[in-house]
């Protein structure tokens, strides 16, 4: 009955933590995860999201046991 929420790079610094575990019963979408995990912190415009290592949109549904991640535009390579 829980969801792991992860934050990377500038978003990790913005939120002040790299990982939060939240109650799956209290969220339906990725956006709900952000609200609950960050106590409704400001969500930067260009934020990217993933569910279980796959890119997803803010309104995507999240299931119990999922790993949800928030991060800024990627800059590898």
């Amino acid at each position: 009955m829980s969801i792991d929420v992860k934050f990377f790079a500038s978003l990790r610094e913005h939120v002040g933590t790299d990982s939060v575990t939240i109650d799956a019963g209290r969220v339906r979408t990725i956006h709900d995860c952000w609200q609950l995990a960050t106590q409704s912190a400001d969500l930067p415009d260009n934020t990217l999201c993933a569910i279980n290592m796959q890119y997803a949109k803010l309104d995507a549904a999240v299931e119990d046991g999922a790993e949800v991640a928030f991060f800024p535009p990627v800059t590898g390579g």
Partner: protein, 144 residues
């Protein structure tokens, strides 16, 4: 078709030489590859050090899938991706992409595809150390 996340300095040419010995001799006529390495300047400033952060599980998953789909799309003999993470110094290799094929058209296109997809999708983030402090890198679309 290995995709490898590398935590220490590596010599891409040695990795290529080594990997190519595992492929059937005479089976490919073309190998296109690309090495991205750290410059000591960016956006007008000196850069003395860079830290590469990533999302380990997703990076590995994404790069493995990218290798597989690229091999299938261009009927490659093989493909290779290596990417550094951690603290990197000027001149060190950051990324290597390589594609082995029967002919050059497929090798060039596939190698380019690996790099473009990786740059736009793989969850890596660069932080630079300049004389005025640390800063996250933002990709300028003009600087491909």
């Amino acid at each position: 078709m290995p995709a490898t996340i590398v935590t220490h300095s590596f010599v891409p040419w040695q990795a290529l030489e080594q990997h190519q010995t595992t492929l059937p001799t005479g089976s490919f006529g073309a190998c296109a590859n690309f090495v991205g390495s750290m410059r000591d300047f960016n956006a007008g400033d000196e850069v003395s050090e860079m830290t590469l952060e990533h999302y380990p599980a997703m990076t590995q998953h994404y790069l493995d899938e990218l290798c597989g789909t690229t091999i299938a799309q261009w009927q490659l003999v093989d493909a290779l991706i290596m990417h550094r993470v951690g603290i990197i110094r000027p001149g060190e290799a950051i990324v290597l992409t390589a594609a082995w094929a029967a002919h050059r058209e497929a090798a060039f296109a596939a190698c380019r595809h690996l790099m473009e997809e990786l740059k736009s999708q793989a969850p890596f983030w660069k932080k630079e150390l300049t004389p005025t402090g640390e800063r996250w890198v933002h990709n300028a679309p003009s600087e491909k």
